[in-house]
């Protein structure tokens, strides 16, 4: 009975992360080939910055995907747009107020998540449909509250998330890395993290072992909403201005990034670090597409096709014949 080497260098993990790492390297090389300015510190820094926001969105999506029961959160983009547009209206003159504002937007997101969780868990509405409908409700709500005119002035503290701490790494980038690392540890080592994966893997067995399946499932959606709320505020801090529906594209990307990062669509298996790597892949890809001046429509087509390919390699349904 040989013992396996330390957990983190586990062969399984390498197998999960390798595609993303290789893809990033390949894309960076391609980018350098296409444009001399691609591998500059400035450009890489901004790639990392955009990735950071997507990383948060992917973390949110990952939590829900791992929680199983065909979980997915298609309201991530809408919630992000909501807090991006409504967040700046909260006073953020002092650090204290800034902190409260963060809590407030996370609360808004959490409330949406709670409605999602309740509909999915208590009423049995499939997650895809519930969160998609919620996305429409949240977007409509945002439109109503802002009356089509988004906030103009942003607090300097909020804009400070883009500040460079050291070359290539800005405040938000470091925050994202810290968050992803911390959450990965929570997922693997703590009881609540492992409960999440167990519930996602086999909710029936989990229930029979005494785990609180309903509570954990609903909490997954609440967490996802809260993190999406946070991500939206960071987004507007980064871009400096708010536009209607600005974060809608993040929904698809968060799903794609999570899946590329090794998360199973049926639940029970996933990695936040993998999701973060997946986020980088897509941001680099998007950056290259922009360098190539590929129009928005074509970008969607490429992203969609890529997601289809990933889905068909990772996540196919059972064969009917054994």
């Amino acid at each position: 009975m040989a013992n396996k080497p330390r957990r983190t260098l586990n062969l399984d993990n390498i197998r999960i992360f390798l595609p993303s790492v290789l893809a990033v390297i390949a894309l960076l090389v391609l980018g350098r080939y296409l444009s001399g300015r691609f591998l500059t510190v400035k450009n890489l820094g901004s790639i990392l910055m955009t990735s950071s926001i997507l990383m948060f969105a992917t973390v949110a999506q990952n939590i829900v995907l791992i929680s199983g029961n065909n979980g997915i959160d298609l309201s991530v983009g809408a919630v992000m747009s909501m807090t991006a547009l409504l967040g700046p209206t909260i006073p953020m003159a002092t650090v204290g107020e800034f902190a409260l504002a963060i809590v407030a937007v996370m609360g808004m997101g959490a409330a949406c998540g709670l409605i999602n969780g309740a509909g999915i868990r208590q009423l049995g509405i499939p997650a895809l449909i519930m969160t998609l409908i919620m996305a429409g409700v949240v977007t409509g709500f945002t439109m109503y509250v802002t009356k089509g005119r988004p906030a103009i002035e942003l607090s300097p503290l909020l804009l400070g998330v883009s500040k460079t701490v050291f070359p290539m790494f800005r405040v938000l980038t470091l925050a994202a890395i810290a968050a992803v690392a911390a959450l990965e540890i929570i997922l693997r080592k703590t009881r609540i993290g492992r409960s999440l994966t167990l519930v996602g893997d086999n909710p029936r067995a989990a229930e029979l072992c005494g785990l609180r399946v309903s509570l954990i499932s609903v909490l997954a959606y609440v967490s996802s909403g809260a993190i999406a709320g946070f991500a939206g505020l960071m987004l507007v801090g980064y871009t400096g201005s708010a536009v209607m529906k600005m974060a809608d594209g993040y929904t698809l990307l968060s799903v794609a990034a999570a899946i590329i990062g090794g998360t199973s669509v049926s639940g029970g298996r996933g990695s936040f670090i993998g999701g973060a790597l997946g986020a980088i892949v897509f941001v680099v890809l998007n950056s290259i597409l922009q360098v190539l001046r590929i129009p928005e429509g074509a970008r969607y087509v490429i992203q969609g096709c890529l997601l289809v390919v990933i889905l068909l390699t990772n996540n196919r349904s059972q064969k009917l014949r054994q």
């Binding site: 439109m143 074509a298 970008r299 969607y300 996540n315």
Partner: protein, 333 residues
């Protein structure tokens, strides 16, 4: 006696009843709010606005019955819409452009079907990815809304044939195709495949083929709906179909089509979308600011879905309780 048997069979098994009741109740309510609501002109214009969604709902219903789900139907309409406008602008006669459009959406539907039924991709996520692809194509074909249609198309759409509003024929097209399909042995096979693919497979049902038909049919219905929509609005818009998928699926669920597959029929879907359309009319005609309208529509959609699920849950409880009495499963090898 065939009639009596027919009635007994269908009324007992009808899942469309709630949607039908909801619709007629709301129509009556509307009559009190808005005099002239039961007039022919109102009903005709109501149908005109909703024909496209009704077609989509029929397609969505069949896919769900077959055990799948297709949320790319809306973007399919966007692609087909801009494609049709571009074809007309390029000089193609509408008698050729229209069939080409329907063919294109059917092909898109079959493509979805291949990805889901044959290659066994997850129904939800694969069609979600497909919807991005189709939206992208629509944007590539026509980045900004514009264009126009042949006068004859609009005239036909707003007119009538043999005294029946033309829009009814658009709705009839997919309806007839589905009813014909149900008259073949494939009908029950599709229902079986949707409810329990493993048991259907054991019964020598070609599960992937039945699902493929469902997706193709949905594409076909989307095509008919696109022609209706294009004739109605008279121009092209790459984003026009964005919300339609959700409307269609919610209408189907409200109409009694169970998301677990194998239950329901498109009649329910039709009344479900009529019901949702009527709600939209009521919301629009009231004096709510335009900024509030999407929110209110969204909330109503949510409430409608919640209501439909509550109703299904209660029916599910009854079925489960009787199943318990009926007996458990066999064990062993």
């Amino acid at each position: 006696m065939a009639l009596a048997r027919f009635l007994a069979k269908n009324v007992k098994r009808t899942t469309a009843l709630p949607a039908v009741l909801l619709f007629f109740t709301l129509l009556t309510v509307n009559f009190f709010i808005m005099p002239g609501a039961l007039s022919r002109s109102f009903l005709v214009s109501f149908l005109n606005t909703n024909t496209a969604v009704i077609c989509l709902t029929m397609g969505a219903s069949v896919v769900i019955i077959a055990g799948g789900i297709d949320i790319s139907l809306g973007p399919m309409v966007s692609v087909a819409n801009v494609m049709l406008i571009k074809l007309l602008a390029a000089g193609t006669h509408y008698s050729a452009a229209i069939p080409l459009t329907v063919l294109a959406t059917t092909a898109m539907g079959l493509l979805n079907g291949v990805l889901v039924a044959v290659l066994r991709g997850s129904s939800l996520l694969t069609t979600f990815a497909a919807s991005t692809v189709y939206s992208g194509i629509a944007l590539l074909v026509m980045p900004v809304p514009g264009g126009s249609v042949a006068r004859e198309m609009t005239a036909f759409y707003n007119g009538s044939l043999l005294g029946i509003p033309a829009t009814v024929f658009f709705i009839l097209a997919p309806y007839v195709v589905w009813k014909a399909f149900k008259r073949t042995p494939h009908g029950i096979r599709l229902y079986a495949a949707g409810n329990n693919p493993a048991k259907a497979y054991s019964s020598a049902v070609n599960v992937p083929a039945e699902k493929l038909f469902a997706f193709g049919f949905a594409g076909f219905s989307a095509g008919i709906g696109t022609v209706a929509l294009t004739s109605s609005i008279g121009s092209g818009d790459p984003l026009i179909g964005a919300q339609m998928s959700m409307m269609a699926i919610s209408a189907a669920v409200i109409g009694g089509v169970s998301l677990s597959g194998g239950y329901g029929d498109i009649t329910g879907g039709i009344f479900g979308s009529l019901f949702l359309g009527l709600i939209t009319v009521i919301v629009l005609s009231s004096n709510i600011s335009s900024f509030l309208q999407q929110f209110v529509s969204g909330v109503i959609l949510l409430l409608g879905m919640i209501g439909a699920m509550l109703f299904t849950m209660r029916r599910g409880e009854k079925a489960r309780r009787s199943a318990d009495r009926g007996g458990g499963t066999a064990h062993g090898e």
